[in-house]
């Protein structure tokens, strides 16, 4: 084979691989391989992971949620997988593995939307494939893997909504934020970020007062509504009550600080 033909072939492959859709699929596959390799390094479950696995297994068996102090969504998803026929540990591993593999593609689209620089977005996504903390999140069944994914999707949809000023995107963003909140109470900060973003766009005069107020009000209504709905539907009355008290305590603690 001639050298020029070989280089042209490499170039074509590179061009194909760097197409956004192909690149996203490659990112997903690379993360999956990386996480499977890392799984071999740490086959034992972490301390907190055992709590989730046990709670989901008991929930699937007896129908009782034994850790109401934890947001019920992660355990509920593991429970669903167990009810589909998976072993408790396998279900929990799969629950954190899949969102973990989706984080680099989400980082790519988020970086692309935030900075509009394809090369930078590619670099950021590749870092996510190798990021040690993200790898640990993906191979250990804890709520952070899903939380990071949902928070990334929330940030991305939030940026899209800010840019496009479309109401449906604000609704989508509010739903994603609420789901992130269902995994971790830190998800509440996304509400403040939405406010900051709208205030900033208002300052730049890209939004009218009326539209900004409407969108923020909509966001403020949908996010807690989805959180209430999902928390209640997933865990029932008792975890929902405990979660509500915890959220109120978070607010109180933050105000006291």
């Amino acid at each position: 084979m001639e050298k020029s033909t070989f280089i042209a072939g490499i170039g074509r492959i590179r061009e194909f691989c760097l197409k956004p859709q192909v690149f996203l699929v490659l990112l997903f596959l690379a993360s999956a391989v990386m996480r499977l390799v890392a799984w071999d390094w740490a086959p034992l479950l972490e301390r907190d992971s055992v709590v989730y696995v046990n709670a989901a297994a008991v929930w699937a068996e007896t129908g009782k949620y034994i850790v109401p102090q934890f947001p019920p969504l992660p355990c509920y998803l593991i429970k669903l997988l167990i009810q589909l026929g998976m072993a408790p540990e396998a279900a929990a591993r799969f629950y954190s593995f899949l969102p973990g593999c989706l984080v680099p593609p989400v980082a790519y689209v988020f970086a692309m939307e935030a900075l509009n620089n394809r090369r930078l977005a590619r670099y950021a996504a590749v870092f996510c494939v190798f990021h040690p903390t993200l790898i640990v999140f993906s191979i250990m069944p804890i709520r952070d893997s899903l939380y990071v994914l949902l928070a990334g999707v929330s940030l991305w949809t939030g940026l899209l909504a800010l840019r496009s000023r479309q109401t449906r995107l604000w609704i989508l963003c509010a739903c994603c934020c609420a789901l992130a909140w269902c995994c971790r109470h830190e998800g509440m900060e996304l509400l403040v970020l939405a406010f900051l973003g709208l205030a900033f766009e208002l300052f730049r005069k890209r939004y009218t007062w009326r539209l900004a107020a409407c969108h923020f009000l909509l966001f403020c209504l949908i996010m807690p509504a989805v959180w209430f709905g999902v928390s209640y539907a997933a865990g029932g009355a008792e975890p929902f009550r405990v979660q509500s008290v915890l959220v109120l305590n978070h607010f109180r603690g933050f105000i006291e600080k």
């Binding site: 301390r47 988020f110 990021h131 952070d144």
Partner: protein
């Protein structure tokens, strides 16, 4: 320094970077934050981007976070900042090339790739190190505990509370959790064990195990604590692990097989009871507890009592040893209005086989044979 400032600095400089950037320093982030607004297209947007990031870091620093996982959302801006710095390296090299003409210009392009693969490789090494060197219980330790469980099926594990679930999950051995890893707590729990045949595995973890290890004179007379597993870590941050096997001096077991007929027992020692028309449906005898110079048994009798005020129930027990020596104990355990009669009985028995008999209304409602042996 005030506690608040200390917490702020700890969260800002230690916990957040630990969880989010690790090898990517806070310096990189600040440099990226300063440089990004200079870009023309999107310039104003960067202000919001970094403003939001600053808000997310600051509220965590003010409130303080227990685990680095609470800052996991910050990974997104961190990786973007790091990627940006990698790209800037190329531009900086070009500037250097203008200043020092001998430097090769092609290296600028390579620098970005070197930065990318360097960071990725570094991250990979850190991930490997983090995952392959567990700080807590290891697989070997679980194997050692499981081996003990096979020899002694009723074994329990005494350990620090936050590891109890994991040990229980991997070994299927029930755990007795302690609030923290302190020698006093371990000793207190060991000396509180009163069941004569209770086998315990004590899992201790500390950087300096010598501080936790109890001396023989601190244990109750005759008790033994023998090491089963030991793993000492060379790393300063990691903990040492040790598993001990604890055995009380006397061992106690129920003897299976045919029981002697009630007639063979010293039933004549029992005075006739006077507890009215009660019918006993069943009984339960607990494991004995060592104390008071003998062994204390707790038993519960299920009885159907007639309506109206419940009569006092007199229950008599007899413990007969192989040599024929017996002690009869009387006890009254009236529980008005309930169908259950609860009582305890304590008697001294030397090592050997003996029979415990509980009589109610002149009938043996429960017969059990036990063996008490001194541990070797």
């Amino acid at each position: 320094m005030s506690a608040f400032a200390e917490k702020f600095l700890h969260t800002f400089f230690q916990q957040i970077p630990n969880g989010t950037c690790l090898i990517f320093s806070i310096g990189t982030l600040i440099a990226a934050a300063l440089m990004l607004p200079k870009r023309r297209h999107h310039g104003r947007f960067y202000a919001f981007f970094w403003g939001a990031f600053l808000f997310m870091v600051l509220w965590r620093s003010c409130k303080g976070i227990i685990s680095v996982r609470y800052a996991s959302i910050l990974i997104y801006p961190m990786v973007i900042a790091t990627a940006f710095m990698g790209l800037r390296a190329e531009a900086w090299w070009r500037l250097l090339c203008r200043r020092f003409r001998r430097l090769p210009a092609w290296f600028g392009r390579a620098l970005a790739w070197i930065g990318l693969f360097g960071c990725a490789g570094g991250a990979l090494l850190i991930a490997h190190h983090k995952l392959s060197t567990p700080t807590g219980p290891s697989r070997e330790m679980f194997a050692a505990i499981s081996e003990c469980r096979e020899r002694y099926p009723d074994v329990r594990v005494l350990t620090r509370g936050n590891e109890a679930d994991r040990i229980s999950y991997y070994t299927k051995v029930p755990c007795i959790p302690l609030e923290e890893s302190r020698k006093e707590l371990f000793l207190e729990s060991l000396n509180a064990v009163t069941e004569p045949d209770r086998h315990l595995l004590v899992v201790m973890e500390d950087r300096h195990l010598e501080k936790l290890e109890p001396r023989k004179e601190e244990l109750r007379p005759g008790a033994e604590l023998s090491p089963v597993f030991e793993k000492r870590s060379r790393k300063a941050k990691h903990k040492d692990l040790k598993v001990y096997f604890y055995r009380n001096p006397l061992s106690f077991s129920r003897i299976p097989g045919p029981l002697p007929a009630p007639a063979d027992l010293p039933g004549n020692l029992l005075a006739p009871g006077s507890f009215g028309p009660a019918r006993f449906a069943g009984s339960f005898i607990s494991r004995p507890v060592q104390g008071g110079g003998g062994f204390r048994f707790t038993f519960v009798l299920s009885a159907e009592t007639p309506p109206g005020p419940a009569p006092g129930v007199e229950v008599r027990t007899a413990a007969q040893q192989g040599k024929g020596e017996a002690r009869v104990l009387q006890l009254r355990a009236p529980v008005p209005g309930k169908g259950l009669y609860r009582g305890t009985v304590t008697f001294r028995v030397p090592p050997g086989a003996f029979t415990l008999r509980i009589d109610a209304k002149g009938t043996a409602v429960r017969l059990e044979q036990f063996r008490l042996t001194r541990a070797e």
